[in-house]
Symmetry: C3
């Protein structure tokens, strides 16, 4: 009886810890990428992790590291930029999980700020010996394309998940 | 002694689970509404749930469903829109709860994004056999009106709660 | 054996509760400051708490209270403003903690909204008899200055923490 209650508590607590850990991983992306912390950004992903953005496909950790240290991103954060991610909606299923959130990219120019992109961000995460890691992240601009809307709905419901997220 | 410790743990854990569940419900609104998931948006509310926005009063689940499938909202998301809600501050009191957060509505137009509204969002939720549901949501634009400021303060403090939120 | 399991559960649960409490404190700042809730904003800090923003240094609770009731802030919220903070990344270490998040300040003007600032926000919190309190908050604009980027990275990694945050 006591054992059953302990086991139930342990399982419920583990689930909350998983959700919290994943929530925090997503919440760390903006601060890490806007500070140019290339090692830490890359370490959010598994070695073969994918980051698939509209204009850019990064097929492993090294490509993600290169994006952060690259001229385009360094120019952005050198002038001032905020990759502002919203609170993630997280769903854990055993040793995999998904998270979905909006993002806004604000860029600074001569004392003013411009929202140059709003996006849908779907994360597929896996449990590793080193904690939860992103295995696949797909980001699409909310510019009317149906694909971005599908990311948002599938992120919450789990239906019609795109390639790399099953 | 063991039983007391178990009971205390169970109560504390249940409280965290409630807060987490409500946080996630609020976090799901943006992704669901921006993807036009009318059924899922409506199901966030109780059948008699109210969604009271400045320019629009929706008095039950069916009216909320109609808003999502309606021309105005479909036009918004067809062109690209982000109903970006901030992280909710959640307070649970037994079988009811409230949550408060900011929101920004960004709309896409020809490759650019415009923040057309910033709002205060107060949720009154109730525990049902089907999980937590929104019973009343009041949203007001942060355009200087006192009512929006009262939503924000009452959402955190629990004082001066408006009609439908007691 | 049962005692060990109970103790482990209690420790894990306490950590989640701490993280959740701190997350909620950060999430309450925007609603409280945009509603002009000067007492509640000030009470987020310890009596000797510091709020260090680019253009303004507030060296104790009283100075923070004065900021909220002052002409500049009252003008902002009287016209409509959203101090929109992102979801905090929280790290608890015993009786101190840090939290890092982005912020956007949106101001309303004649029916339109303008993002006039994007910032990095680093919180140093301490556990008190009265719950977690902010002991030091540093906010810097993401306008290209290196200092803002250091806040973001140190907030996640704990390295190179600025004065007042050690």
């Amino acid at each position: 009886m006591t054992d059953d209650r302990l086991a139930a508590l342990e399982a419920r607590l583990a689930r909350l810890e998983d959700e919290q850990a994943i929530f925090q991983i997503v919440a760390s992306y903006g601060p890490l990428v806007d500070s140019g912390s290339a090692d830490e950004v890359a370490a959010m992903w598994t070695e073969d992790g994918v980051y698939d953005v509209d204009e850019m496909f990064m097929g492993d950790q090294a490509a993600i590291h290169d994006m952060v240290t690259g001229d385009l991103h360094q120019g952005l954060i050198g002038n001032g930029a905020a990759h502002f991610l919203g609170p993630a909606h997280v769903t854990v299923t055993g040793d995999t999980a998904r998270a979905i959130c909006h993002s806004i990219l604000l860029v600074h120019h001569k004392g003013k700020y411009f929202p140059v992109r709003a996006g849908a961000n779907l994360f597929h995460l896996v449990r590793t010996a080193d904690g939860w890691k992103v295995h696949h992240r797909t980001t699409r601009a909310l510019d009317g394309r149906a694909e971005a809307r599908t990311l948002l709905s599938s992120g919450v419901t789990g239906r019609d998940l795109p390639e790399g997220h099953q």
